[in-house]
């Protein structure tokens, strides 16, 4: 399915389950997403998603139970799982490159925005490593930075700013110029079936909600 339409579908579903109180709908979304994940995602990832979510889920459930409202607790827990597995179905099959490509090619979003998002996304790892290195460098100088040290923030912001300028320069050096036209190696299209899936899924959700 087209990455942007898929994202749109996810957002609509997420919004709907946020404002409705149907345990049944949450369960249906959870089960469908889980089946999807079993087919397309790694076993490790599924276990990770289910297990990590368990911690807040238990917390929420007991908090509501203490208030004497265990039904509401169940609603929140199923909603939480529906959110997590739904999100999981998106990230397991869709890459940020495809999303950026679709935004640029199908939805006429300026390419600098599409690639900017992607560049920033690729920078996350770099920035994480920078933070580890900053702390390491400080230790060698007998300075111990904690997560509240201004130096750590100053240095990491500096690193991020530095990297963003360098990234812009780097993209520029490989001929990326704002507003200039480009060809596309991977054509991303919106198929009729993509619209059909979108409409059918959304209608199905309304039916589950009403009946």
């Amino acid at each position: 399915m087209n990455p942007v339409l898929k994202l749109l579908m996810m957002l609509v579903i997420a919004l709907e389950i946020s404002f409705t109180t149907s345990v049944r709908l949450n369960l249906v979304i959870f089960i469908v997403s889980l089946i999807y994940l079993i087919f397309f995602a790694s076993f490790k990832r599924i276990i990770y998603l289910l297990f990590v979510t368990l911690i807040p889920a238990i917390g929420i459930y007991f908090a509501q139970k203490i208030n004497g409202n265990y039904q509401y607790g169940i609603l929140l827990v199923t909603r939480l799982y529906a959110f997590v597995t739904l999100g999981g179905t998106y990230t397991c099959k869709t890459s940020i490159e495809d999303l950026a490509g679709s935004l640029e090619q199908n939805f006429r979003v300026p390419s600098k925005f599409a690639y900017g998002v992607m560049g920033a996304f690729n920078l996350i790892e770099t920035i994480k490593q920078e933070i580890i290195d900053i702390k390491l460098a400080a230790k060698m100088r007998n300075v111990h930075l904690s997560y509240v040290s201004p130096t750590l923030y100053f240095k990491s912001i500096l690193a991020a700013m530095n990297w963003s300028t360098l990234l812009a320069q780097g993209m520029n050096s490989h001929l990326f110029v704002e507003g200039s036209s480009r060809t596309h190696f991977k054509k991303i299209t919106i198929k009729t079936t993509d619209y059909l899936i979108l409409i059918v899924v959304l209608i199905a959700i309304q039916i589950i909600l009403i009946f």
Binding site: I132, D133, L136, A137, R141, A168, S173, L175
Partner: protein
Amino acid sequence: MNNLSINNLTYQYTGTSKPTFKRVSLDFESNQMSLIYSPSGSGKSTLLKTIAGFYPQYNDGTINGVINFNNKNISEFSEWQLRQTISMMFQDPMQQFCMTTVEDEFIFTLENLQIQPDKMNQIIEDALSFTHTNDLRKRDFKTLSGGEKQKVALSIIVAINAPVVLLDEPFANVDIKSRLELISLLSQLKESGKIVIGIDHDLMGYENQIDQLIGFDEADTTFKPLDDVAVFKLFNQFNDSTNRPLTSEVVGEPIINCSDLSIANYDMNLINHLDLDLIRAKTTLITGPNGCGKSSLFKTFIKQHDFDGEINFNHKSIRKIRLNKYLQNVGMIFQESTKQFIKITVEDELELSKKNAFNNWFNDKQITEFTHRLGLDELSDRVIYSLSDGQKKRLQILSMVMMGHSLLLLDEPFNGINIEYIAVVVDLLNQAKQNGQTQLLISHQTHGLENLIDYHLAFDNHKLSYQEAF
């Protein structure tokens, strides 16, 4: 036949009182390779980025003068046209890649060049085969060594196929073998009709390959072509020493002992079942081809890389020493200087080292003397991030040596440092060594290090062994 001419080019950074260089007039032609060779901090990187049109776009500065390509002023070119005419390879290839894999970066570049998708595959294959790196096509940049990245960066430049190719210290992280290989590739590029302009602080391997050597004239703060006599003298200075004998019989007490050590990077084996002693209060040079695992070995020694087997520091397994405590004894000079700094100004940085030193090996007088000899005294109130690469490197080395670690790892500390300052750094390191410091050094540059190096370890076949020369 193309030509690039620079007329009366002056560049000044905002907030400085003097221009970095002024009235530079140079001519470059097709089938010509030129090299700009000058001390670090003289502004050769700035000159190159100005010619490429990155400055003043990416930093505040003022530019004066005219750059003509085939008698057309390049400031009248559209940005896309300019980038297509003048391509540039950066010093750190990672700063030039914005995708995660080699192939994606190629595709991104070719899309920007508006190449039709059906032609891309052939262009990518041809460009990669120019540097013999076709097998890297599907690889993630994170898994490539420094030299491999540089070869890929050069391949992309080949794919862009611009008439002017600029190279900013293209071989800073490359071993001698790859260096000679890459220089001969540049010659091929030049012979195909390109204008090739590089900057470097190391002349090794360029002899008989370059058509024009450009130096920096301190008196006029300008760049000028050097005459034959000056060129001859410079090359002689670089070629005087080739093989310097050492002993491969190591004696002394080990500070680090590795037994059955194995290190892998992703799925690549770097070191296999190594047994090795590193001797206390000596300087050991470590060399080996790109990607053999020198940097990974250093990362392992500062507990930032997984390993199998055992590493003992002062007879105690490093797995059992807490990181905080360990780093009081073991310090590392990173390849990338900016990572090392904690403070904002030069003065504060040195003050911090003085105050926090683990061992006070240097008294105030000696510190002042080294600060002066490294040319850092006149920079004391400067913001570190505004310094040139060479100045940063000198500051970084001094502030780390002052800390007095009993083991200091130095990863390519001489990158960007020119020959006069190398002697000062050698003095500084020798003084620390007399106080009992053990030094492990990774360096491609070995000129001027005769008085420093005690032992030489070379990588071969996933092992390290002591050599009889360096």
